[in-house]
């Protein structure tokens, strides 16, 4: 599969002058990209910069209007994903394409083109190859384990194995670390380095600067559909990359200043909550958040954080325990009652909870206050008042939109989230609950939202921040609670907490066993 090709030979993959236009936008504008054999090539850019479009072109999901793709120096036309896979190009998507109830081996065989014309599967041979491939890249995997029982980090390895099983030479990873703990990220990086060492070419899509600096051999930065720079990791730094990516200088670390915690606003005692399937998700949580402080909850996604915040804001019933707000028992209060008690909530899934995508921006800005004066008199709505205040919010929160009446689905992710923030922040608050407030956003929007959160804290609101991005929790929080298995296993001081220590707590809950073994034996 691999020749002794040095990095100086013909690129394994070359994309020349790729231009892709969609009505009203040029998603890719003459992009050039060269990936050499054995190279880890990072593609860095904000959301909407055109990374995904470029990779869709490579994967045959979109036809470029101009430009050509070369594999090993030869021009090719890629007609679709099956064709791309046949040519050795494989993609590991951000959202895994795995069937949880099937085993590792079954998932890997699923959709394998070489199996298409056969009736019986050669399971034994498949298992043997899977184990062998895993060993070659430094991990032991049980081909008979159900994928649903594996940790996210291991599921990702299954995705990579799937690609290798199909003899992938070029592997595209779309934001592979978004769902991983720092330890898992390190382990995946180890796997990727071995792959590169064997001559595979890797395209690593990310918007995390430090990761790109750590893993990549070369970095291509794109902005608004164009390549704005190519860098070698040892000749650049985070500030340089951020400036390239955003197009202006950005402040990467938030200056959160001193906090002045006052009285306890939110007090949760012995809270138990079930998830949608009726399983215990929150198993006895105690926490309190004071006015003027940010309490961050770190944890791998799916450890009960979503259920915890949904119970606090009234979207989910708790089965035991007590929630009190400024001394008042508010357990079981409705979302509207909480909202009227000056509690704001930025939900993790803005498309599912935070916004009605098919509605105009102005309607979304009053989604929680539409029934109150001045937006309604009795049951009659007042469009003038709604539009007037929308114009103010658009200005104040820098929502980039052609008008207040466009459907919110046409806005970028960052601007959609700014709309949620504008709606939730624009009043005096006792408690601000944020669940993944910056997930999937670009550097500029993250910076903006973080500043707004700190402003709310300084204005005396108690802030509860849940994030799967450990860096965000570390950067923003005055105190940090680590959530594992439905419990808060530790509370640390935000100024002194150590990233590795928190990462280990996230992965193990502080128990005496290593993260890797816990995942394998699951």
């Amino acid at each position: 599969m691999t020749d002794e090709t040095g990095p100086s030979l013909a690129p394994a993959l070359e994309m020349r002058g790729i231009t892709k236009r969609y009505p009203g936008v040029v998603a890719n504008d003459g992009i050039n990209l060269q990936v050499r054999p054995g190279e880890i090539h990072a593609l860095l850019g904000e959301n909407g910069a055109g990374k995904t479009t470029l990779m869709n072109v490579l994967y045959g999901l979109a036809t470029p209007d101009e430009g050509e793709i070369l594999l090993d120096g030869k021009v090719v036309t890629i007609s679709g994903p099956a064709d791309a896979i046949a040519r050795g190009i494989n993609m590991v998507h951000q959202h895994f394409m795995l069937v949880p109830v099937l085993t590792v081996a079954e998932n890997i065989l699923l959709g394998d083109e070489t199996m298409a014309n056969r009736i019986f599967l050669d399971r034994r041979e498949a298992r043997r190859r899977i184990i062998e491939l895993g060993r070659r890249f430094g991990f032991e995997i049980d081909p008979d384990a159900k994928v649903g029982s594996l940790s996210v980090g291991w599921q990702q390895r299954v995705e990579i194995l799937k690609a290798l099983y199909r003899n992938a030479r070029i592997l595209v990873l779309d934001e592979p670390t978004a769902v991983l703990t720092p330890q898992e990220t390190d382990e995946i990086f180890g796997v990727l380095r071995r792959l590169a060492g064997e001559g595979h070419s890797i395209v690593f899509i990310s918007h995390k600067l430090y990761e790109v600096l750590e893993i990549a051999d070369r970095i291509t930065v794109i902005r608004r559909g164009r390549v704005v720079g190519e860098r070698l990791p040892n000749a650049t730094d985070e500030e340089d990359l951020a400036t390239l990516m955003v197009g202006r200088e950005v402040q990467l670390t938030v200056d959160r200043g001193e906090s002045h915690p006052a009285e306890v606003v939110l007090q949760v005692t012995g809270l138990e909550v079930r998830d949608d399937r009726g399983q215990a998700a929150v198993k006895g949580v105690d926490l309190d958040v004071r006015a003027g402080e940010i309490f961050g909850i770190a944890g791998v996604a799916g450890n009960g954080q979503d259920e915890l915040v949904e119970a606090i804001v009234g979207l989910r019933k708790s089965t035991a325990g007590r929630i009190s707000l400024a001394g008042q028992d508010v357990t079981g209060h409705s979302p509207r009652a909480m909202n009227e008690d000056a509690v704001a909530f930025v939900p993790a899934d803005r498309h599912r909870f935070g916004l009605i995508l098919s509605f105009p921006l102005a309607d979304n800005l009053v989604l929680t206050s539409y029934y109150r004066s001045p937006y309604a008199r009795g049951i009659v709505r007042d469009p003038k008042a709604i539009l007037r205040d929308a114009a103010v919010a658009i200005e104040r929160y820098d929502i980039r939109t052609p008008s207040a009446t466009v459907r919110v689905s046409t806005l970028s992710g960052g601007n959609q989230q700014k709309a949620v923030v504008a709606r939730e922040f624009d009043r005096d608050l006792k408690l601000l609950v944020l669940d993944q407030p910056t997930r999937g956003l670009d550097v500029g929007s993250i910076e903006f939202i973080h500043r707004q959160v700190i402003a709310k804290r300084d204005a005396g609101a108690a802030v509860l921040l849940v994030s799967a991005e450990l860096d965000e929790v570390l950067e923003m929080s005055d105190r940090i609670g680590v959530m594992y298995g439905g419990k808060i296993v530790a509370v640390l001081d935000g100024r002194t907490a150590d990233k590795n220590e928190v990462g280990l707590l996230m992965a193990t809950g502080g128990e005496e066993r290593s993260a890797a073994t816990a995942a394998v034996t699951a």
């Binding site: 969609y22 009505p23 009203g24 936008v25 998603a27 959301n47 909407g48 055109g50 990374k51 995904t52 479009t53 869709n56 979109a62 951000q94 779309d174 934001e175 979207l315 409705s334 979302p335 509207r336 909202n339 909530f345 939900p347 599912r352 909870f353 935070g354 916004l355 009605i356 995508l357 098919s358 509605f359 309607d363 989604l367 929680t368 539409y370 029934y371 309604a376 049951i379 009659v380 709505r381 939109t401 052609p402 008008s403 009446t405 466009v406 459907r407 689905s409 046409t410 806005l411 970028s412 992710g413 999937g440």
Partner: protein
């Protein structure tokens, strides 16, 4: 990471009026035209199958002009068309209103029948009472009865999650049997050879246009405006549309989706009940066991063609009403059975379901979200492709 960057907005916001109007109207107009075209082909094909008849290549033209003449040839014809249109407007509003809340009320037919039943019970009881009292009481009874028939599936959905499509279909059968049992039982005129109720007497809708134009015509137009106002100008309508577009976000926003589901189904049933009332008090004045046309089902087609817009229901209902009104003359002049109208209506529905394809052919983009928002295509299990 989003799939692809969103199209920029300003171009869309500044499109001229005609372009926007075309974007909204193109699909209904093209769909209707295509159905008429297919109808013509069917007419010609039928000539080949039916023997003993000279082949007439222009028979489709004879048929359609008779249809048009039957619907609009003179004042009486036009009034008759309006009378046919009236229950379709009200029924179409009932279904469209449900669509806006994400509910597919197939039970308009049952609510139509039960509404008419309510109107006939009270109408007969007050047949000799002063007309204004009798009319208002019988109309309210019809609305309430239809509303009750809509409340049942709404309530079942809220408490047990029973899908309204299933429960409303079942309730349609119950309504048919209920009507038959009552009309041949307690409501039957004693000693009458056939099952028929007494006349509603003073409760009948007054005629204000020609010989048949009853005040139900005005009620239907007022209802369309009222429903539009409710949906787009009140907080209640905002809640209903929110629940229809995204129930999770509605709950997050402090609305109560279950309560709204019950309220919407009840209101929708009330509109369908008013449709039945308008036929009973405005046209038949009494009820036989065979009362009830296919108005309830035609209403679904009306709502779909109107793209769930309450004001769009008016022209959509007029189209179907015209076809019903003109069908008789078509049969007389061209020998084409009235059932052709059912065929036309069915092909309109089929073309509407395929409208994502049409949209691509017509290169229309802007109104797609409108379709999903109304829930109509999702209700039929078809999502518009983008």
């Amino acid at each position: 990471m989003t799939g692809r960057p969103a199209p920029s907005g300003p171009a869309r916001a500044r499109r001229p009026f005609l372009t926007r109007a075309w974007a909204v109207l193109a699909v209904p107009i093209v769909v209707t035209f295509l159905s008429l075209l297919l109808g013509a082909v069917i007419i010609l094909a039928s000539e080949l199958i039916v023997t003993g008849r000279k082949f007439d290549p222009m028979l489709w033209f004879t048929a359609y002009s008779a249809l048009l003449q039957g619907a609009y040839g003179g004042g009486d014809a036009i009034i008759q068309t309006l009378v046919y249109t009236t229950p379709l407007v009200l029924g179409g509003l009932a279904v469209a209103f449900g669509f806006k809340a994400g509910l597919f009320n197939i039970g308009a037919q049952g609510q139509f029948l039960v509404g008419a039943l309510g109107a006939v019970v009270v109408g007969v009881a007050l047949a000799d009472a002063p007309a204004p009292l009798a009319i208002v009481a019988a109309t309210v009874a019809g609305i309430v009865a239809g509303g009750l028939w809509g409340f049942i599936p709404g309530f079942l959905k809220a408490v047990s999650g029973a899908h309204e499509v299933v429960s409303t279909i079942m309730l349609n059968y119950v309504a048919v049997q209920l009507l038959a049992a009552l009309v041949s039982g307690p409501l039957k005129v004693p000693k009458s050879p056939s099952p028929v109720t007494y006349d509603v007497g003073n409760a009948a809708f007054p005629i204000f246009l020609g010989d048949t134009g009853h005040i139900g015509i005005i009620l239907a137009i007022l209802a369309a405006v009222l429903v539009w106002w409710l949906l787009f100008r009140t907080t209640w309508g905002f809640e209903i549309r929110s629940v229809g577009a995204n129930p999770d976000a509605a709950r997050y926003a402090g609305m109560r989706p279950k309560l709204l589901t019950v309220a919407t189904m009840t209101f929708s049933g009330g509109l369908a009940g008013l449709a039945g009332t308008s036929v009973l008090l405005g046209v038949s004045h009494s009820m036989t066991s065979s009362f009830g046309t296919t108005v309830g089902f035609d209403s679904i087609a009306v709502a779909l063609l109107a793209r769930s817009n309450p004001l769009g229901v008016l022209p959509a209902a007029l189209l179907f009403g015209s076809m019903r009104a003109g069908a008789g003359l078509m049969q007389i002049n061209a020998g084409i059975p009235v059932e052709l109208v059912d065929v036309l209506q069915a092909t309109i529905l089929l073309f509407l379901v395929a409208s994502p394809v049409l949209r691509r052919v017509l290169r229309l983009r802007g109104v797609q979200a409108g379709i999903t928002e109304s829930g109509q295509t999702t209700a039929l299990g078809v999502k518009p492709a983008d």
